[in-house]
Amino acid sequence: MPPTSERPAGPGDPVANEAMDRYADGDASAFPILYDAIAPRVEGLVRRRTRDASRIDDIVQQTFERIHRARGTFIRGSDVLSWAFKIARNLCLDLGAQGWRERPADGKDREAEADPIAQAVAEVADAERIATARETLARLVRAFRALPERQQLALELVRIEGFPMAAAAENLGVTLPSLKMSVFRGAEALRNAVLEDANPRSARERAAQPTTVEKEHLRGIT
């Protein structure tokens, strides 16, 4: 089994953070542990920003090289995944790997296959449900691509990667209310886009009534 197939680290993962701490202190044996813990998450982030396989590998490799170079500056006890994400995202920007617009038209199926949601759906033996789920996923992906960059980044960190709001805001260099607003607006836009395609009338009705989670976000903002 390849080492990267183990369960990847999430934000605040103690194994990854401890490995980075040891590595920053000069313990070379900690680097493979760190790599195995965060590489799948870094790759996932980069994959969402570009489709060019050679670029993905290059960016992931460069991210780890930069982590290595800057290991002495890692603050003890801070979150290495947040650090790695910011480096990877900057690299994507530096290398012009903003892939949403660069994706080939035939990349839709490969994208769905690579997505964990699509993989989970594929395990269901009901062909009709698979087809419906694929359609929904495709609508979701289209809507996500149409979101402003700021909302994409906010949703990516909070909803996909599971970062706490405060950590995500710090990572993106925005204020907490601003991030909450981006997440709320992004999620609302996604929900409306998906429902609009499926049932235009119900989407309009639903859009008028925020969910409990969204009410919570709004309460946090106001």
Partner: protein
Amino acid sequence: MESLERRNSVLASIAEIPAPTRRELMRRQAWLVVSGVLGALTLFWVEGGLRATGRPPSLVAWTSLGTSCFVGVGMWFLFTRTRSGHRRGWLVLGLATIVPVVAFVLWRYGLGHLYELASPWPTRPGYRCFALSVATGGILLGALLLAWRRVDPMSPTATGAAFGAGAGLGSALLIDLWCPVSYLPHLLVGHVLPIALLAAAGAAIGRRILRTFRS
């Protein structure tokens, strides 16, 4: 590339790239920063050091005390990072520079006015203060940039700007002890402009030398 293949490639690659550990980096930074501070202080003392030049000692003490507080707060925000290890955002860095500078000018001008020493002083437009500020701040900035060279993988431009602004604030503290003039245009040219200049220089140079490069 398969994940195992990439893993081996990354491991092989980093084995060839030199990277300082925490202790090595701290030693390098401490040595360079102390040298920079001593260099700036030496230049300050060579140029005359603390000069009252007709100012009452109480005015010197009050202005220096206030300036130290403003500069200290600004430097703390400029030089430290967040708990996640990220450099603070541009908005915070901007506020951490502008607020202490405005406070310093108001404090200095206000106290000068109180002691009736803020009257126009046409023969002192502020060029000497400007030169000394840039020189002392430049030494500090150079030391900071060298100390952190090639170890900022995320925001080298912001780090460079923060270092420049911090060095400028530090030099403003020294020049405050040296310069008796509280005339507003003089303060702007001789004491504030160097901070902006050093921040811009820090951003431009930091972008080039603080970032980590691929070998």
